[in-house]
Amino acid sequence: MDEKEIIESLSPIEKKVLEVLSQDYKELDEISKESELDKTSILRGVTFLENKALIEKNINKEHNIDLGILGINYLKKDLPERILLNTLSKREFLPIGEIKKACNLNQNESKIALGTLRKKDLIQINEGKLYLDKGSKDISKKMIEELFLEKLPLEKDSLEGDDLQAFKNLQARKEIIEVKEINQIKIRLSENGKKIASQDFSIDLIEQLTPKLLKQNGWKSKRFRRYDVTSPVPRIHGGKKHFVNQSKEYAKSIWLEMGFKEMDGPKVETGFWVFDSLFTAQDHPVREMQDTFFIKGVTGKIPLKGKKKNECVVSQIRKAHEGGLDGSKGWQYEWDEEDAKKVLLRTHTTSLSMRTLQKIKETNEFPAKYFALGKCFRNETVDWSHGFEFNQTEGIVIDENANFRQLLGYLKEFYKKMGYEKIRIRPAYFAYTEPSLEIDVFHPVHKKWLELGGAGMFRPEVTIPIFGKHIPVLAWGQGFDRIITDFYKITDLRELYKNDINKLRETKFWRK
């Protein structure tokens, strides 16, 4: 920028500051007084002038000593050592154990008072009793600490003699004095600044385009003040959806693209739909209180009646568990209806899949594909890698011709769209699927495998009680939080639901 452009870019504040500056350093107070500007405006102007290299800044750090919270109090009511001294002067002696009570001091204060007076040789201790050392000293004379407190505020660097000693003594005690670092800013014109300041910069520039100027064509003969468009601006933040919900919306959009229908249903369920319909034996460890949240004091209903006698889902599921359904050996125990009525927070969204199958049975409309993305619960302690609530991405495909390779196809496609090109599968075990698998995706940046969770094909013991015959159902339910934390580079699961407003304001939008 040449001089002319610089002059055209000076804001009214900058001009006012320039006017009062000279080749000698001036303090902010002085500039404020002469320019009649407040300090904040001056500092803003100074930043802009500094960017234009018109001024030179000198920052001098000063340490100001002032009264702390306790200091203010002590100045009014005396230091603990003075209180102890006064108390002692009124009596012959004081047992050490009684200092607190007699002087109305707390434990810490009485300890300090005692220590300080001993150091100053003002007292003597004999057989646990405190005596005034009446030797030579005048106890009414003010101690250096008292004098020091009265003189505050002081600058640290200027301290000497008794004051310096008193400062050291008091700084070792809590909250009596405070040391504040103050930046003393001094400013003077730079060489360039001198040239500009010596010119007439009172040219008439348009500061703000107004409706009036537009109407009267007042802008035609004048120039606009130039902004420093590169200077930083104060930060603002907008409203936005929670990042977990943003990522869930994205995953939902993928399932929708792939022609899946969204499932919806209760979070509080009977054990019947969460476990029994999914061929999970009633003595399976997952059904213990230490793993699952059971709801106190309520019992649910189970679908006891079907349209026809052999259509009753409950009796078919009993048979699946006890053995004999389609030649299956089952779990060979006595299935208990009451256990299936227990009410709990769903441990997986697969309960939604089961309810969906039950609905499809009525219309017999398949091939059909369904998905859900929702909260599940497990009785867990909370740490960086565990939580009692988590999200699951669930899907089912009901199709007479569905097979294991198609299951891999759907999963591969979904994770490819989520940004993971490579998948890997391993054998796994779930009570309700056969074959079962565990899926990992390859992280393209970290070059390592992320373990996401399970999938499989529903067993005949699951499908037959619903449909009356075995219809292949591909099913999966992977944890979704792992993907969210990975995208947002979160290392602690607790951050997902921490609702730290500062962080939420800074969190980037889900962009995929």
């Binding site: 409203g239 979070k267 309520v298 867990e380 011709n401 390779r405 196809g409 056969e434 407003i501």
Partner: protein, 550 residues
């Protein structure tokens, strides 16, 4: 999750050097490697495979998987004289079943005893369901006199020296004071009689499922011959358990003898039953399930890799399932066996050409619109837990009757939330360091007890929306503007009706009415509530039930 940790040297004697390729094979076999170090190899064993829980059985499976070992056959010798266990009627309502065997020619080095005890413990906790379903006892044959009776007696009549003790203890005393008694006592304590094994000398061998006798039930390095029993509540599972143990011991170079089980109330048995079980299946069903082509010889090869035999007879294909396998319930299980043998990594993913139409829940779409409208106004969406703490709820509510509690929560979060406002205030209280104004909203499920709820459980789940604005000079008007804009954008007519609510300032709160139904409240939060949360700013808030949009 069961982790099997094996001595690497012992294992390598059986399966050869453990190379990275072999580790990969082991994982693809369905036993993911957890850790390999100089001394041990650890794998995860899924709950459906208790038959892999010993070095011997695991090694056999690995060798079969690599076609280095054939489908297992077990030689069971006929019972000798007095190889007999009688199950008396008295145990039938307690732990009704036992199956037994006798093993001779054991060479029990210290390590092998440990292996056996480890297997015993792993079976107890997995298939045995913490000894409830199955408990296993192993006894030195030279210390006991056959035949044996399995009977039940009143606890007062049961006295013996339990393992690890020096003095005789009574049954009650064992349940109360013995370490194992304390852990498993619950399985017996409600019965009038406790089950015991007694030998021909009337000596108590053990009190299942708690503890063996020190005198007759301690196996040592010297032991060459043992009597083994599996007792429990379920005949199928005690049989399976014994089969797994026999399969392990048969790899220790010993002779296994059958025993006659005389059941006074049911069918007599001769155990262990180690013959494989036939399971008919159709190769086409497997092909259809997996989406691959198979030939008979392929199927035979793949099943053999999984330790399963194959035969073709008049009625078709038959799989021969070894007695120790507990997980083959149906032909569908063979599909997975064949898939594992085929190699999961060899399956080519495909997408079928079927036409289905996507569908998004309209209510979910509406909720997304609400979030868009509110974030357009500069509001920040929050997301909090469905489970609250009692401490937080008490800051907002006097009455707990509608609340639902979970049992035995491992954290302080033990109550299902009844509103979102509690969450909102909690969030505000934790964010005093963030610049004001703070404007937040949340949508989520809340739960109330409701006997007349439509679903299967007497609980009503509703989707709520809460909004809170916090600033030095925030007022009712600021939020009413938001509400007004929101409902205008959603094209919803609403009314405000003067109605008090204990969480809001009297005279500055209103009920929100849509279609003549009260859907929630809007107002300035009462200073008492703000103080409860130690918040230092005024708050104006609202919460509505969104179900009228569903």
């Amino acid at each position: 999750m069961t982790i099997l940790t094996l001595n690497k040297t012992e294992l390598e004697k059986k399966i050869g050097k453990i190379t990275p390729e072999l580790e990969d094979k082991i994982t693809q076999m369905g036993t993911p490697i957890e850790e390999v170090n100089d001394k041990t190899l650890s794998v995860e064993v899924f709950p459906n495979r208790p038959d892999l829980l010993s070095l011997q059985n695991f090694a056999r499976a690995v060798n079969q998987f690599r076609e280095k070992s054939k489908v297992a056959q077990f030689k069971i010798n006929k019972p000798e004289k007095d190889y007999e266990v009688t199950i008396e009627k008295s145990v039938k309502n307690i732990r009704p079943y036992t199956v037994c065997t006798i093993v001779k020619g054991l060479k029990l080095t210290g390590e092998k005893i440990e292996d056996l005890i480890d297997l015993q413990e792993k079976l107890h906790s997995s298939i045995g369901r913490k000894r409830k379903k199955v408990a296993i006892g192993i006894y030195p044959l030279d210390k006991i006199k056959l035949p044996i009776r399995y009977t039940a007696k009143i606890p007062e009549e049961i006295k013996f020296i339990p393992l690890e003790e020096k003095k005789e203890m009574s049954a009650k005393h064992i349940l109360k004071n013995h370490p194992t008694g304390k852990v498993y006592g619950g399985l017996l304590k409600d019965f009038e009689k406790y089950p015991i094994f007694i030998d021909a000398n009337d000596e108590i061998l053990s009190m299942p499922p708690i503890i063996n006798s020190e005198k007759t039930g301690r196996v040592t390095n010297e032991t060459k011959e043992v009597f083994i029993e599996c007792s429990g509540s379920n005949l199928h599972y005690v049989q399976k358990c014994l089969a797994i143990i026999v399969a392990t011991i048969s790899e220790m170079g010993s002779k296994i003898y059958a025993m006659n089980i005389i059941d006074k109330s049911e069918k007599n048995l001769q155990t262990p039953q180690m013959q494989s079980e036939e399971l008919k299946f159709k190769i086409e069903d497997i092909e259809k399930t997996l989406g691959i082509q198979l030939t008979e010889s392929n199927v035979k090869k793949f099943l053999a890799r999984m330790g399963i035999g194959f035969e073709k007879n008049k009625s078709g294909a038959v799989a021969l399932i070894p007695a120790y396998r507990t997980d083959i319930l149906h032909w569908i299980d063979l599909a997975e066996e064949i898939a594992i043998a085929y190699g999961y990594e060899n399956f080519e993913p495909i997408l079928p050409k079927i036409s289905t139409i996507a569908y998004e829940q309209p209510f979910e779409k509406t909720k997304q619109k609400i979030a868009e409208i509110l974030s357009g106004l500069g509001l920040l969406e929050t997301s909090s837990f469905h489970l609250s703490t009692k401490k937080d709820i008490k800051k907002m509510h006097y009455d707990f009757t509608d609340f639902l509690e979970v049992l035995d929560s491992k954290t302080k979060h033990e109550v299902l939330r009844i509103d979102l406002l509690t969450n909102a205030l909690q969030i505000i209280s934790e964010n005093s360091d963030a610049a004001y104004p703070q404007k937040i909203f949340e949508m989520g499920t809340v739960f109330k007890k409701d006997e007349y709820a439509l679903g299967d459980v007497p609980i009503k789940e509703t989707e709520n929306l809460s909004i809170a604005l916090i600033d030095e000079s925030i007022t009712f008007t600021d939020l009413k503007q938001v509400l007004d804009y929101l409902f205008k954008m959603l094209n919803i007519k609403y009314d405000l009706e003067v109605m008090e609510n204990h969480n809001y300032i009297p005279g500055r709160v209103a009920a929100i009415i849509v279609n003549e139904r009260r859907i929630g409240f809007i107002g300035e939060i009462a200073p008492r509530v703000i103080k409860n949360w130690k918040i230092k700013m005024p708050i104006v808030a609202m919460e509505i039930d969104l179900d009228f949009l569903a």
